[in-house]
């Protein structure tokens, strides 16, 4: 007999560190076996040196060889990937076996979202799901855009529908045209409450959600109540610190002024070029020049290389939450509270969020269950950072039109002893600290969303479900501009308030019955009523009567007011059926008819079906082997109809306040259309899922082809038609693409596991047609100055279009009589903003109780027009404007009158007559020409980013159980740590004005941030 040892131990889930109950622990080669208890603990007498097998459904089995005299063992089980019986949440919150689906779906676990937290939930999907493109607008407090499988609608919303526990929730970005980048509404969601997110790509997956699902669906399942272990309380604390990651590369040789001259008197033209907010001034070589702080005294003119960087502080996000959960036979609940407190890198900017969530179900009888999910979220911002080119509060506007010698630290006290405002320039800008402190925008969003449901099991085959979900919020903004702000001398005050409500009430019947030993039938039929209303009330006092009092009544002028109300309603009937054969072949059919209030009476009813099928070849043909674990083929076709926005049918006239005593009506810019038909998107998709070598290699590939026709476009027309836009029912756009997910487990040992997850996607779009007659060749998606983003017939979606240098037949720049490059009167295409491909690589390592993972996020291709580069070139603040500015930097010498200059440049180009250009121009003139033309400011927008790094440590169960803890883990987390590679100078190429379709344009972006912090999770 071998000696036996009393072995104690614990089995925990590798991902959470929580004990796993009911795990089977077996001594290989004997009958000795045990199961773990509710806390995941076990004890067993085993022969020393024996092998133990730990197995548990849904987790990868582990075999461990005991060391002699080992008396305690802690085992971490990994969740099984791509297992045959993997269950995913699909449309209408119905869980289905993944193998039965004929379309692509990808799930992200809650822990992957919550450890390295993002203040905007959307950001945490970047690089993690094939086919998903996330663009963070700018800074770290604003909006983020998410697109799945490219833009399928030329003019409409291209972002997916968000659904939480079966109820659609709003992800609008309200008020995108102002000077703040308000966060999109889904950022209200607390990632701690998320159990999992399913990404349903393309309309194939989503026929059951109706119109809005044409661009895909993101299904969020929140954590629900479960039988508690210990006290059932978990606490999470996440604290991160943010610093500026990308700033333009500034020059530190020449200071403020023009033509090399500068002297400060009053900052608005009183001195020599002191009203000029550019850096074409004298060399910063310590020469003595009066400056803004020196009271007329000549002081050394010196560079301050970090002057912009030092304006931005360290941001801080404190995120603390608690959750309580328990369950009995009749009732279960989970309650959570989370507080997030963020201060931005811009002085005086902050956002606070308080989330309350209650998720509960109650079995009224064994067959009748009541479920309720309620959330209250209050988002409160003391001040959101100003973005873009607004004089009253655009920081990067001022820093790009800047004197490079300015020491911002001398601006911190923005009033002098007499109370007058102090700034380096007084003709355009106000002191940046003044605008940060006084020109503030407050935002408060109060949101209640959730649903109640009743589930009645009529018999073993038939279930009835009723659910009513509501999402209601008010979003109020108070926008202040202080007295004395340059350009707005009397200041202003505006209150902008939105109220949004959406209700979805749904009834479904579900019939699920084995038809025979081989066939199973699962039928669902139901109806939905969706009502949505939105209200906006905006009031503005354009000039304040007295300073510092921010009420609407404190106005010099009549208030400017705007009120908008809109509502829509959709009735739907839908049905889906799944026929399963022998648990390895499945056919899925769906059908839906919508009746939408937004369409003309004759066209408001529209029907759309889908069909898809899947077969698990490895099962069907018994192909399983040591090499092949799993092989599935799938394919499908689907169609989605789409309505339009309210009030698009009849021409209307806009009221404005009376002039003299006469009321005013103005024609709407958009010519409406009484004959609109629903848009139609059809999609075909095939794919395969493959697992090899005991699931250590997992591959999922999809190919799709999506056509959107009859698009409802508000197309730009020549104003000479009498309108700026016309609503047409035309437009065809095609998207084709491929998505690949590859999972690898190169190493799998008890103590060590290495996983690699790679995703790759490539989408090609083509605008096929804009109108049937072919009159329209381009649709303007957006513009910034003279640079436009177009959907042009025959071209990919989102082409950048604008002014270029005039060139001769050999491609050489043609200069004018003064030797300055000329602009071609014909605009040019510069390429599309959409990427050629996207990729993400996650490497995760687990060694004993440590986890390390890092995510590399790649965007390849696509162009961006950079307003920062254009402006910074024109103002001479960028390092790229140094060449030619003096002899030291290669400038040529030339003489005007009796003065000799050394900042000459001969543009490499030809004269209008074809002869070689020999004219010398000043560097300032040359760079100004580059500023005015779009072409030199269009860049490749590719990037490779180290998006996320996590180093986690799970405290061993044996330690923590002694102090009454169920689990405890600590992680160091970092987001956006490093831009490994980019081609666009001076900016982060991942940027946007807002979440709309007008992407590929950058102007004076707030710097992106990198964040580093830690996450602590403790369960009692």
């Amino acid at each position: 007999h071998a000696q036996t040892t009393a072995l104690r131990g614990a089995v925990v889930a590798a991902s959470t560190g929580e004990g796993l109950p009911g795990v089977s622990v077996q001594v290989i080669g004997s009958n000795t076996a045990a199961q773990t208890d509710a806390a995941g603990k076990f004890s067993l007498n085993v022969p020393s040196g024996s092998q133990l097998r730990f197995s548990y459904i849904g987790y990868t089995e582990q075999v461990i060889v005991l060391q002699s005299n080992q008396s305690y063992l802690e085992v971490r089980l990994d969740e099984q990937e791509n297992a045959l019986d993997e269950v995913v949440v699909t449309a209408l919150n119905i869980s289905k076996e993944k193998k039965s689906l004929g379309y692509s779906i990808q799930e992200v676990k809650g822990t992957d979202l919550s450890e390295a937290k993002e203040s905007n939930l959307v950001n945490s999907l970047a690089g993690k799901v094939a086919g998903v493109q996330v663009t963070n607008s700018q800074g770290n407090m604003g909006s983020s855009r998410i697109i799945i499988r490219g833009e399928t609608s030329i003019a409409g919303n291209n972002q997916p529908l968000f659904v939480i526990d079966g109820t659609p929730v709003d992800n609008s970005q309200l008020g995108t045209s102002g000077n703040r980048d308000y966060a999109n509404a889904i950022s209200d969601i607390n990632s701690e409450d998320i159990e999992s997110m399913s990404v349903l790509k393309g309309p194939n997956a989503a026929a059951l959600y109706g119109s809005r699902a044409a661009a895909g669906v993101i299904l969020i399942t929140t954590k629900s109540g479960s039988k508690r272990k210990g006290l059932g309380i978990s606490i999470n604390s996440n604290n991160t610190f943010e610093r500026v990651a990308v700033l333009p590369d500034y020059q530190n040789v020449f200071g403020q002024g023009a033509d090399g001259k500068f002297s400060y008197v009053d900052g608005k033209g009183g001195g020599i070029n002191d009203g000029v907010d550019e850096s074409w001034g004298p060399k910063m070589d310590g020469r003595l020049i009066p400056q803004f702080y020196s009271n007329g005294e000549a002081v050394p003119f010196l560079p301050h290389p970090d002057n912009v960087r030092s304006f931005f502080g360290t941001g801080r996000t404190l995120n603390n939450g608690i959750a309580i959960t328990d369950a009995t036979d009749k009732i279960d609940y989970r309650f959570s509270y989370n507080n997030s407190n963020q201060t931005g890198i811009v002085p005086n900017s902050s956002i606070e969020k308080n989330n309350f969530n209650l998720n509960t179900s109650y079995k009224i009888t064994p067959d009748l269950t009541l479920t309720a999910n309620a959330n209250y979220v209050r988002t409160n911002s003391g001040n959101l950072p100003g973005v873009g080119g607004f004089r009253s509060n655009g920081y990067m506007l001022q820093f790009t039109w800047f004197g490079r010698q300015v020491d911002v630290n001398r601006l911190k006290n923005y009033r002098d002893a007499d109370g007058n405002l102090v700034n380096w320039n007084n003709s355009y800008y106000s002191n940046p600290y003044f605008i940060a402190e006084e020109n503030i925008v407050q935002q408060q969003r109060d949101r209640i969303f959730g649903n109640v449901g009743l589930n009645y099991k009529i018999n073993d085959f038939l279930t009835a479900n009723f659910r009513s979900g509501n999402d209601y919020y008010t979003d109020r903004r108070k926008i202040r501009i202080a007295y004395g702000t340059n350009g707005t001398p009397f200041g202003s005050y505006e209150e902008d308030a939105y109220t949004v409500n959406e209700n979805n009430t749904e009834f479904t019947l579900n019939y699920n019955q084995p038809l025979s030993a081989d066939f199973r039938l699962d039928i669902l039929a139901g109806g939905n009523i969706r009502s949505q209303s939105r209200q906006r009330n905006d009031q503005k006092a354009p000039r304040l009567a007295v300073p510092d009092v921010y009420t609407l009544a404190n106005s010099r002028d009549a208030l400017v007011s705007l009120g908008e109300y809109s509502s829509l309603k959709t009735y739907s009937l839908f049905s889906s059926a799944q026929i399963g054969f022998k648990n390895y072949a499945f056919l899925n059919l769906t059908a839906r008819n919508d009746w939408s209030s937004t369409l003309p009476v004759d066209n408001l009813s529209y029907f759309y079906p889908s069909v898809n099928a899947s077969i698990v070849l490895s099962e069907a043909f018994a192909l399983q082997s040591d090499v092949l674990s799993y092989w599935k083929l799938r394919g499908g076709w689907s169609k989605v109809g789409k309505d339009t926005d309210p009030y698009n049918l009849i021409d209307s006239y806009i009221f404005s306040a009376p002039y003299s005593d006469s009321p005013q009506l103005t024609v709407n810019d958009i010519k409406k259309n009484p004959d609109l038909k629903p848009e139609t998107t059809t999609s075909a998709e095939i794919g395969t899922e493959l697992a090899l070598f005991d699931n250590r290699l997992r591959l999922d590939v999809s190919i799709y082809d999506i056509n959107s026709i009859n698009q409802i476009l508000s197309v730009d027309v020549s104003p000479s038609t009498g309108y700026k836009k016309q609503l047409v029912n035309a437009g065809k756009i095609n998207n084709k693409g491929i998505e690949v997910q590859l999972g690898l487990t190169p190493l799998r040992k008890n103590d060590f596991q290495w996983d690699v997850n790679v995703n790759f996607s490539s989408n090609k779009s083509r605008v096929v047609e804009l109108d049937e007659a072919g009159d329209l060749q381009s649709y303007t998606i957006g513009s910034s100055g003279s640079a436009q983003v177009l959907a042009s017939v025959g071209q990919p979606y989102g082409m950048l279009y604008g002014t270029a240098f005039l060139r001769d037949g050999d491609g050489r720049i043609v200069v004018d009589a003064n030797g300055i490059p000329t602009t071609d009167p014909v605009n040019h295409y510069f390429g599309k903003f959409t990427p050629d491909w996207l990729g993400g690589i996650t490497n995760s390592f687990r060694y004993k109780d440590f986890d390390l993972s890092f995510l590399i996020d790649i965007k390849h291709g696509g162009k961006i027009y950079s307003g920062t580069n254009a402006t910074g070139t024109g103002t001479g603040v960028l390092a790229s404007t140094l060449p030619g500015r003096d002899a030291e930097h290669g400038g040529l010498s030339y003489t005007v009158g009796d003065v000799t200059y050394d900042d000459g440049i001969i543009v490499d180009g030809v004269n209008a007559d074809g002869s070689e250009n020999a004219k010398i121009v000043s560097a300032q003139q040359y760079y100004k020409a580059r500023y005015r033309t779009n072409e030199p400011n269009v860049f490749d927008a590719s990037y490779v980013k180290l998006r996320e790094v996590k180093l986690g440590y799970h405290l061993p169960n044996r330690w923590i159980s002694k102090i009454g803890l169920q689990s405890a883990s600590f992680a160091l987390v970092a987001r956006n740590l490093w831009i490994i590679h980019k081609n666009a100078p001076n900016i982060d190429p991942e940027t946007a004005f807002n979440t709309g379709n007008a992407q590929g344009l950058e102007s004076l972006q707030l710097p992106t941030t990198r964040s580093i912090g830690f996450n602590l999770n403790v369960k009692f």
């Binding site: 023009a258 608005k268 033209g269 009183g270 020599i272 070029n273 009203g275 000029v276 074409w280 003709s427 001398p489 354009p542 010099r556 002028d557 009549a558 400017v560 908008e564 809109s566 309603k569 009746w595 209030s597 937004t598 408001l604 009030y647 049918l649 021409d651 209307s652 806009i654 009221f655 002039y659 003299s660 006469s662 009321p663 005013q664 009506l665 024609v667 010519k671 020549s718 104003p719 000479s720 038609t721 009498g722 309108y723 700026k724 016309q726 109108d771 007659a773 009159d775 003279s786 436009q788 177009l790 279009y801 604008g802 002014t803 004018d816 003064n818 602009t823 009167p825 605009n827 005015r932």
Partner: protein
């Protein structure tokens, strides 16, 4: 259920049935804002004719523009002004109110003339009719002006003091007689605009006006002008100066006014903020930003307070202009009369427009340099009209091109090889939105540059 759904989709925010009076008010207001505003006036035509100059950011004063810089007029005048005036006309036809139709036609003719004088060939016959023409063809200036004279003749016939009146008229308060005078004043303006090209049509037009007998604008009280109100309906110049200090009075006009001892100098310009011996100092047009800045904001003259006042009028057509027009029409032999007398009356009217005393007017008119020279009527009228049109950049720009007086020296650091712009650029968006028609216009008229000469501009 379909009816319920249709009911939900009834627009609660905007009117579905327009009122002609309310449309008329907003049309006049919107058009005037753009006509008197930054893009068409301050940052372009007022600089070209050297009424004003830039003291900072001097690019437009050096004729540096992109094809995005002239979108405002094109976009506003077509998609707001013309569009609304067409709607007013169709409402008037349905209701039988000829006076609304007449007023709308007068305003529409004025606006088309702003467009064609600025850009050259423009959509006219197919403009503002989106149901039929999604890509309107461009018409030659000849077609446009012939059409406009026809439209105005029709308007003159429609306008009737005995018929049902109009409301919402913030130009003339519903006074149809004044509208008839304004219509004829525009016909006089247009007849002279084409005088070098179609003298017979010009002459016959003036003959028709005489025959019809309604007459022209009779006094400064009848000037076609919008008087602005308090914010937010302030004069655009006032708004501009509240936000920035981009403009000063041009050295060209200050020097000219000083040379003529012109009492309008004190109205057109402010004394320098920092006291200077000259009191009024103009800024040469088209300096580099640095050179302009060196002159100093405080040591150069802003436009006069008369023009920077929130309530300052946007003048569309003045009594003085009518009189200059009659003087020229006599000089050209289109009508009979005393050209010198009309010329002197015109100057009187212009000075009186700014409340200058009769004594000063008399002594001004006695000066040698102010005398009318019938042999060089273009010079006499051109120079005095240029002064009288101060602030009306677009009209001054058109008349300077047509009369070739006063002879202006191009911008100091101009980029057009020593030339002054002769037109605005078509907006870049026309290339993508109405490419074929645009291409045809360019082929006829010449490339889309600032120096392409327009049809009415013969010399």
């Amino acid at each position: 259920c379909k009816d319920d759904l249709a009911e939900i989709n009834k627009n609660p925010n905007e009117a579905e049935t327009p009122q002609p009076a309310y449309l008329l008010t907003s049309t006049i207001k919107t058009t005037a804002d753009s006509y008197w505003g930054v893009s068409n006036n301050l940052a372009s035509s007022l600089l070209f004719v050297q009424h004003w100059a830039r003291i900072q950011y001097t690019d437009p004063d050096r004729y540096i523009f992109t094809n995005n810089d002239f979108t405002d007029g094109w976009s506003t005048w077509y998609s707001k002004s013309i569009s609304q005036l067409k709607i007013i006309q169709s409402l008037a036809e349905n209701s039988g109110n000829d006076n609304y139709k007449g007023v709308a036609l007068v305003l529409q003719s004025w606006i088309f003339s702003l467009l064609t004088d600025a850009y050259g060939e423009i959509p006219y016959t197919q403009a503002g009719n989106i149901d039929e023409f999604l890509t309107p063809a461009y018409d030659t200036q000849e077609t446009v002006y012939k059409g406009l004279l026809n439209d105005l003749k029709m308007a003159q016939g429609l306008l009737n003091t005995d018929s049902e009146g109009i409301a919402g008229d913030i130009l003339y308060g519903g006074d149809i007689t004044s509208w008839k005078h304004f219509a004829n004043a525009l016909r006089l303006r247009f007849a002279l605009r084409i005088a070098d090209r179609l003298p017979d049509l010009a002459k016959s037009t003036l003959a028709e006006i005489t025959t019809e007998g309604a007459g022209y604008i009779t006094s400064n009280a009848e000037n076609a002008r919008l008087i602005y109100e308090d914010a937010p309906y302030r004069n655009p110049v006032s708004s501009s100066f509240e936000a920035r200090e981009d403009y000063r009075v041009s050295k060209t006009i200050i020097d000219k006014l000083r040379a003529l001892n012109d009492p309008r100098l004190a109205v057109y310009a402010d004394t320098t903020q920092t006291a200077t011996p000259e009191q009024y100092i103009g800024v040469p047009n088209g300096l580099t930003s640095s050179d302009a800045s060196n002159l100093g904001f405080a040591r150069t003259s802003r436009p006069g307070t008369y023009f920077r006042d929130p309530h300052a009028p946007a003048v569309i057509l003045s009594y003085a202009e009518v009189l200059f027009g009659l003087s020229e029409a006599v000089s050209r032999g289109f009508i009979t009369g005393d050209a010198t007398d009309f010329y002197q009356q015109a100057i009187r009217a212009s000075l009186a427009q700014y409340n200058i005393s009769n004594e000063l007017i008399v002594s001004y008119l006695q000066q040698e340099e102010v005398q009318f020279d019938p042999q060089q009527y273009k010079k006499s009228i051109g120079e005095q009209k240029w002064i009288a049109l101060y602030g009306q950049g677009l009209e001054a720009f058109a008349e300077w091109r047509r009369l070739d007086y006063p002879q202006l020296t191009p911008a100091v650091a101009g980029v057009l090889g020593g030339k002054i712009p002769l037109r605005f650029l078509y907006p870049g968006t026309e290339q993508s939105l109405n490419g074929k028609s645009y291409g045809e216009a360019i082929a006829r008229q010449g490339s889309n540059t600032l120096l392409t000469k327009l049809w009415f501009d013969v010399e």
